[in-house]
Symmetry: C2
Subunit: 104 residues, 2 copies
DNA sequence: TTTATATATAGCAATTTAGCTATATGAATA
DNA sequence: TATTCATATAGCTAAATTGCTATATATAAA
């Protein structure tokens, strides 16, 4: 198995309005964000600049929020042409939901 | 409806090893705790003293952890003969799990 | 009513988190 | 290779969280 789950880490990552917003927006990239040229909204994810803008924080603060989500296995970063795109890690999120249902 | 759910508040309450431990232990009060005289383990819940001991923190610290869980609708306190007993609020927990599944 | 005891609150210190600005890194292009 | 521009890191402050001890409150029993 290559998915290892730390439920406490996931919950700490989720316990933030900014990060919950990011996960929510990433559920519908096409509906929530403008078209991109260098990365496919679905395949690669959403450019960190758009996410930073939606969060309403400075760039380094946004970077850290995104790192927390990525470290908890909730989103997947993809580097492409100098930008970083983020999409939900649905497999891991599903596993977390299952564990949450069972263990809490 | 008398159940109102704040998913962010619930996640913040859950994002703690001590509080996750309490919720976990309360799943099986009879298996995890000794018999009580003044409050029924199932009907009323577990005496805060036992929970304090399991958490391994001082009494006021435990009180605050339990308050965080109660404020988030995860546990229900019952006062009886000078003690406070806590049990899981299964209805609310179920609602939180549903919302978690849908919104995250 | 007084006393004893469980729980809650006050208040403090240490740690963690979240925000910022300034700057370093690193990859794409000229 | 040099430049440019997006992202990452460093380093700081403010706020929130967690732990403690001391003390207040409140309930049960004497």
């Amino acid at each position: 198995m290559n998915i290892s789950i730390d439920i406490e880490k996931a919950l700490k990552a989720l316990a933030s309005d900014k990060r919950l917003l990011v996960l929510s927006l990433l559920k519908d990239p096409v509906g929530n964000f403008p078209p991109q040229v260098d990365g496919d909204l679905i395949e690669d994810g959403v450019c960190s600049n758009w996410l930073t803008e939606k969060m309403g924080v400075a760039q380094p603060t946004a970077t850290r929020h995104l790192k927390v989500l990525a470290d908890a296995g909730l989103i997947i970063p993809t580097r492409k042409k100098g930008w970083v795109f983020y999409k939900r890690d649905e497999a891991h999120i599903t596993a977390i939901k299952k564990l949450f249902s069972e263990e809490v």
